[in-house]
Symmetry: C2
Subunit: 490 residues, 2 copies
């Protein structure tokens, strides 16, 4: 079990496991955070030398383990969310102006915005936690068709593949002390591992989506839970041979429907010189979010996603937690720091529905506007609210795809000083299974570094490069290589 991939928290980013084609594995996917990537050890569980050996195949996996360790570290008092959460600051640059944030007012509130010259759009508040809006008619029908066409011409690739055997072999070489691992998993500190606690760490599944049934099956195969109550004592846990977990996983290759995510996607450039429709959509996003042009222009390209019949994406959040050790993928070029975590820092998600889906395919926000957020209560009485194949009907809010409609939400809370604060756990969302037909969507993410100084430095640097006409005057992804090989360079 130790070697089977850990995740920091329910609702934290899923990860794309490594695969034979490292370029493909390295691309972040719809609603996925960039894989968490360790550069140094936070707690001495693994040594730096050891790291280097396993690096290429293992970094994604280790990221999961380290992310969990860090999560527990910051949750259990080792600083806590109230502790300073910023990475060591870069040299000062002029502080960017406060980031605009639309007011939700209340669910159902409508406000008019002018996004294009010839008409107004209505922006309707769908929830306050997360701060989520709907904009009918954001795209025209022919624009939706064009985007699908451009994506098909470019070609789509699977959004998630299972780990290779080499990867799992490499994992096998890594061992955490069972007591450490037990402590990490036992979130309620009752000295026992409930099914919900195991399921909450979806990364344990190495990309497979774990259900109460699959975990119980595994326990049975390993004779790990003799009394069959689905709860492991420390003794039962320690008695497990973790190599058996790998053996079990190997024998039970997951079908695509058993993955965290089952879709194909590609990326469409929106920067200068792009198709005029792609440019126009970026301008509309700029007007809609009221964020600075330099922020929007330096953000990721558009991701286009196709879900076939049976396609789904279990619930997740689009951006990673903010620890002092975190840096953002988009600003990392301007930092000389060695920090263990990289995440994609997606302040806002704008999701476009490109077609009407014949059956299913809703976007679900399982805990939207819940009074409280409690990770462990996501999995109760055998019902996992994040499971978009089984339990979409139990989620608080479901948006039915409507061609041309955009929904958008903030993945981060404000920090109270006009900048980005903590990740909003209520932004947990997923794609319900498509029961009939095909579902096409696109995503625009707006990337903002939670470190205001680093975002400033990044913008300054990119502006300088642009003035100097350097090839690097556009962000990495604008050159269409970021999602190629960038992520395997450690």
């Amino acid at each position: 079990m130790a070697a089977a991939g850990l995740r920091p928290e329910a609702g934290s980013p899923q990860w794309a496991p490594a695969e034979r084609d490292p370029a493909a594995a390295a691309r972040p996917a719809d609603g996925e955070d960039a894989p968490v990537r360790p550069l140094c050890k936070p707690r001495g569980i693994c040594s730096r030398a050891y790291f280097l050996v396993l690096m290429v195949l293992v970094h994604l996996y280790l990221g999961n383990v380290l992310a969990l360790l860090l999560f527990v570290h910051y949750s259990d008092g080792g600083g806590g969310p109230a502790a300073p959460r910023r990475a060591p600051g870069p040299p000062p640059a002029p502080a960017p102006a406060p980031l605009a944030r639309l007011e939700g007012i209340k669910v159902g509130h409508e406000q008019k915005v002018q996004l294009v010259a010839d008409r107004d759009h209505l922006v309707r508040t769908l929830s306050l936690k997360p701060l989520l809006f709907e904009v009918p008619g954001f795209l025209r029908e022919e624009e939706c068709r064009l985007i699908v066409h451009l994506a098909q011409m470019k070609g789509l690739q699977p959004s998630q593949l299972l780990p290779t055997e080499e990867f799992e072999e490499a994992m096998g070489a890594m061992q955490l002390h069972p007591l450490d691992l037990f402590r990490l998993l036992d979130r309620n500190h009752d000295g026992r591992l409930q099914l919900g606690e195991v399921l909450a760490q979806t990364r344990l599944g190495s990309g497979r989506w774990m259900t109460p049934e699959t975990v119980q099956e595994m326990y049975a195969a390993m004779k790990a839970d003799p009394d069959g109550d689905g709860v492991l004592s420390l003794q039962e846990f320690a008695a497990m041979d973790l190599r058996d977990v790998r053996t079990f996983m190997k024998r039970h290759r997951a079908e695509s429907g058993e993955l965290v995510r089952n879709s194909h996607h590609t990326w469409l450039y929106q920067g200068e010189g792009a198709h005029h429709v792609m440019r126009s959509i970026r301008q509309r996003v700029l007007r809609l979010t009221r964020l600075p042009a330099e922020v929007v222009e330096l953000s990721e390209p558009m991701q286009v996603v196709r879900y076939g019949e049976g396609g789904h994406y279990h619930a997740h959040v689009d951006s990673g937690p903010v620890y002092p050790e975190t840096i953002c993928s988009h600003t990392k070029l301007v930092t000389n720091e060695s920090v263990p975590f990289e995440t994609s820092c997606r302040y806002v998600t704008v999701l476009f529905y490109l077609n009407n889906v014949t059956g299913g395919g809703e976007t679900v926000f399982p805990v939207a506007d819940n009074r409280t957020y409690d990770e462990t209560s996501l999995v109760q009485d055998g019902v996992d609210l994040r499971d978009t194949r089984r339990h979409c009907d139990k989620g608080n809010l479901r948006v039915t795809p409507q061609q041309g409609t955009a929904v958008f939400w903030y993945n981060y809370l404000p920090d109270g000083q006009g900048w980005v604060g903590d990740v909003d756990e209520y932004s947990l969302h997923g794609g319900c299974v498509v029961t009939r037909g095909t579902k096409w969507i696109a995503n625009n993410w707006i990337n903002v570094d939670p470190s205001r100084a680093r975002q400033a430095l990044y913008q300054q640097e990119m502006a300088r490069l642009a003035r100097e006409g350097a090839a690097d005057a556009q962000p990495e992804w604008a050159l269409d290589r970021a999602y190629g090989d960038a992520r395997v360079e450690l």
Copy 2:
């Protein structure tokens, strides 16, 4: 039943029934809206001539009926909350700057503020709906004692008295058609009156707090509900002789514990020349809320409230709904309009705990941060969440009195343009029964007119009067007569 006092909605302001001393009856009370006061009829149910006859004794009561009529009018499509909600505009004055609004970020978030020279205070977010904060140590212990002392020297009066017999006689002369009344009460339009629908209209009780038991007792005494299921059909309702309701009420005089509110209160001046502690508290409130000085200085004086053992205040909201027909008590002097509703337009409530209570006396917010607000679900399965004598334990959020702590919240949502929008229904709150000892609190309300233009005009006019050194250079209440006889002048 027609003649027994209606209220616009659960959580809307309670009212102080008329009494022999009209001056006392006219004072608004802790967390109460100024009594709704009709100046003209909205729907032709009562004529203006009739009005004048009953005016002095009946205006509060009629206010309730009219408020309910208006509420139904605006709820059932006669414009709706999305319709223009402002009273006809006064002549233009320079628009006041946007109103500051603290950011809640998330429950448990803490921000530091400097309210006094010698220390910082922590402002902790208690809920987002309503936007509610707690400030420990806002008042020093000796300041709390001083306020209690000043209030005792001034003398406290009962916050609520029962209607007199004359009042109820006058009520008897008023008749609504039973079909109209039935339609008003039948909120779910199922052609039957559930207990919850009757209880939701707490004004029907004429200041008595209605429980499922008292309503059922009344039905039994009047033989109104032969099948005893607590549900009235239209036939059963129409068959009731409404005079019997009055007879029943007369025979069952309510004890103080059976009132909507059971406390004593008085008002302490905080304007220029007031005790330096009272001035200083106003300055702290100004810094805390970041609202313009002229808004805070022109707001109500401090209300000090004593709850004896057994004291309580059932849940209510502090300000009235915003209809086109609404004017605010504080700005009405600058309007020449004849509009049927007056409410106290309390944008912010700051509540100070002046002592530690031996038993009970918490402030409860029954629906704080609920996912949805549904008036009828406040009363379900015989449990009325607004009942602070019985069901405080079931409320979402309870604040235990702690000497010197202030809590404050916004009674209105923002309008999205930097001004006051709709009343926030989630601000519903009450005082739990004091089971042991005495509870002392104080309230500061900050009054803002939802009509930005009228607030501007009011501020302009008050500034002009101040420059001219007129006696009216201070708001009505600053002269300590607003809460004397102002409210009986029609």
